[in-house]
């Protein structure tokens, strides 16, 4: 299928060898459209090993295919880096965490707020996590 080739290309573009598990993990990210944890993936991909998925996440993260999201749930989640997500020198990540269904979504990119830092502090990345109730739960 063309789809598979597309996913393969995504990986190749980031210098990640498109192995079976990696394609499965990438596909999950593309399908769910929200931030998911290692455990989530474990349960979605019952035939792949936890540690393999773990290392896949680290590889993806390193190659900027995904980024980690600390949404305060205590479990590290990961989300796809879309075009609207610039995983570059000055990262900016916006996420919404629903305190009802516990889902975490990426929000479309918006301009970063101007925040005053104390003297001599230099900024590299900004993560904004908004919490509340999502449309489904409202």
């Amino acid at each position: 299928m063309l789809n598979i080739n597309q996913e393969e290309n995504i990986l190749k573009n980031r210098k990640v060898k498109p192995t079976a598990v990696r394609l499965l993990v990438l596909r999950q990210f593309m399908e769910v459209n929200k931030a998911i944890s290692l455990k989530d993936l474990e349960q979605l991909l019952v035939h792949s090993d936890k540690s393999t998925i773990f290392r896949t996440l680290k590889t993806f993260e390193q190659q900027k295919l995904i980024h980690s999201v600390a949404d305060g749930s205590g479990i590290t989640k990961y989300a796809l880096c879309l075009e609207s997500c610039e995983c570059e020198p000055k990262d900016q990540h916006f996420h919404f965490h629903c305190i009802s269904c516990e889902m975490t979504f990426c929000l479309p990119k918006q301009s970063i707020p101007i925040v005053q830092l104390p003297p001599k502090f230099t900024l590299q990345q900004a993560n904004l996590v908004l919490k509340g109730i999502c449309a489904n739960c409202n």
Copy 2:
């Protein structure tokens, strides 16, 4: 000392019985002036038990004396709720995480950026974590 009474009052004001461990934990928060983890406290308060400190943190959090900080380090940290930190319906937390020394500081309150949420999403809290290099490491 007057100081102790002051700390006792802080606890009493939040309906928390000022026990020995609680006073020690509160004092640590007031002294360090940054976000600290359970493990940090364990090491600072060698004579207090881990689980007691843990429950103290939960109690403090519930009574809005402290709030948790997900700074992406993988370890949950906690920081004092100062006057500048309104742990109320519309929470806003600003933190700075130094990727060099791994310290996490509370930033003084600033107005939260206006962020456009998708339809039917309602906002209750906003957490902004900025990452970079702090003054000490710069």
